[in-house]
């Protein structure tokens, strides 16, 4: 069981949450072709190490938030509300 610090509710067990996926902006639909759109739909970086991803507090506050998690150790470094700035100390894409 990993603990995930929900930015709204504090630390909770991971089974309260749904993993929503890697973060990333949606490309403008009108400007791209089917291949680019499908790449956005399907291609994943699937990093081993620190990743920035979206989680959903399904059995809690029912809000989305951004988490920095290490996919090798499952350590969660920071969480923040969607749209807020990453803290300057964190460098999400390292290692």
């Amino acid at each position: 069981m990993i603990l995930i610090p929900c930015p709204y509710c504090g630390p909770r067990n991971s089974d309260e949450f749904a993993h929503w996926g890697e973060g990333g902006a949606r490309p403008p639909v009108q400007d791209i072709g089917p291949a680019e759109w499908r790449a956005y739909l399907y291609i994943r970086r699937n990093r081993a190490g620190w990743t920035t991803e979206t989680w959903f507090h399904r059995f809690g506050c029912a809000r989305f938030f951004v988490a920095e998690r290490n996919t090798v150790t499952n350590e969660v470094r920071t969480t923040r509300s969607v749209g807020s700035e990453a803290p300057p100390s964190a460098s999400p894409e390292e290692g």
Binding site: D15, P34, R45, N46, T73
Partner: protein, 409 residues
């Protein structure tokens, strides 16, 4: 007689495969010494006469998914492409012990996928009809038939997840997965294939859009063809060649109990309860579950897995409540959007992939190896795997296997 002598004194066992120095050049480099990599190398040597083939692995033979799966073999898939492909694999598995001169202990004990609600019963019917059209033995049976096959199962209507029927697939069964890995390794080695364990690929060198070789922890190797046969690390290895894959890696946990007298013949799978059970020849019950709910490269077991597993297994078979779990482990599953694998060429010339094997890679090993070997040797994608190319994700040709692969094995 030789076997008896070695066994009595535990000495002078002949080596099953050689340990050699890494050469600076090969015709084909296969990354990953699991069943897929070893089978690819074996069929390259056996069917196509390739001699300069090296299989590289950062760990040891069969140390990844090939040694962590629950060893279930079946071909009762949902799409015609899937059924044909896995049926070829079952066919190769049937003759594998004779072919490799290695007892792989394939026991076709029958495979039951339980339906606990109307929609899964409908999917079972669909699968049965697709299977029959492809000539694969598969049929929907009643709860009474299930009870006759597995007397220990609670098929009464009073349970939380009542058994409404099952997809019965007689050719399905279990195998000894280590024996398959070792058998392929020994046979490939005998044909001249070099297997390099503890040899991690660190980078893949490219030149103008084509593969030149790999940099490993034991030095540089040049090769015109590099085949990515990894599971769990498929995205990371492909990224070395600049190829992006539609894969997310999830751990999948499994467990075995202490051994008991043989009572369970068939393999029992329940999609709704996220569990599958079989009994090995040694008497241990092997349990597997669905993948962990979030992606990770961690192979640590978790308590909630064991708790959930126990509660689900006891729903089906209350009689085994006193059995103790001996050990649990996890393996990494590369899940694709359509729950079908990715086999074939990539945009990098000479860099081939045999990846995205989700939770169904081991049962596919022989057919995937045979097909990949043919692709490497002839340059043409065999018909059997044509539907599973990487380009399908960009061209809208997904092969949706979720109904037959998401939980059941």
């Amino acid at each position: 007689m030789g076997l008896l002598g070695h066994g009595l004194f535990q000495q002078d066992w002949p080596r099953a495969w050689r340990t050699t120095e890494l050469k600076p050049q090969y015709d084909v480099v296969v990354i990953g010494a699991g069943v897929h990599g070893l089978a690819t190398a074996y069929y390259l040597a056996r069917n196509h006469g390739a001699r300069q083939v090296a299989v590289l692995d950062k760990g040891y033979i069969g140390g990844g998914g090939s040694g962590r799966n629950t060893a279930i073999i079946r071909s009762n898939y949902l799409t015609p492409e899937g059924v044909r492909f896995y049926d070829r694999s079952v066919g190769l598995y049937r003759s594998l012990a004779a072919e490799l001169n290695f007892n792989v202990m394939f026991a076709q004990r029958g495979h039951l996928t339980l339906a606990h609600n109307d929609s899964s019963l409908r999917t079972m019917r669909w699968r049965a009809e697709v299977n029959k059209l492809e000539g694969v033995q598969s049929e929907v049976i009643s709860p009474a038939d299930v009870k006759a096959l597995v007397p220990q199962m609670d098929v009464s209507s009073g349970t939380r997840y009542p058994v409404l029927g099952a997809l019965y697939h007689p050719p399905g069964g279990i195998i000894r997965h280590d024996a398959v890995n070792w058998g392929y390794a020994r046979a490939a080695d005998a044909l001249g294939v070099e297997i390099h364990q503890n040899t991690e690929v660190l980078a893949i060198s490219l030149d103008r859009g084509r593969v030149r070789g790999v940099n490993t922890s034991k030095g540089k190797v040049s090769a015109p063809v590099v085949v990515n046969c990894t599971a769990g690390w498929a995205s990371l290895v492909a990224e070395m060649a600049g190829v992006s894959l539609p894969i997310v890696t999830h751990p999948l946990q499994a467990a075995v109990t202490e051994p008991v007298k043989m009572f369970l013949q068939a393999v029992v799978v329940s999609g709704s309860l996220h569990v599958y059970v079989s009994q090995t020849d040694r008497g241990e019950l092997v349990f597997g579950a669905s993948t962990d709910p979030y992606p990770s490269y961690s192979m640590r077991g978790s308590l909630e897995f064991t708790e959930e597993l126990a509660s689900h297994v006891l729903e089906l078979m209350p009689g085994i409540a006193k059995l103790r779990v001996l050990r649990q482990w996890a393996g990494l599953c590369d899940i694709t959007p359509d729950f079908s694998p990715i086999m074939g060429v990539t945009e990098v010339e000479g860099f081939l992939v045999d990846v995205g094997w989700g939770t169904y890679g081991f049962k596919a090993g022989p057919a995937a190896g045979e097909s990949m070997a043919e692709l490497v040797a002839t340059g043409k994608t065999p018909e059997l795997i044509a539907a599973f190319d990487l380009a399908r994700f960009f061209e809208g040709r997904l092969v949706g296997e979720r109904g037959a692969a998401a939980v059941g094995h």
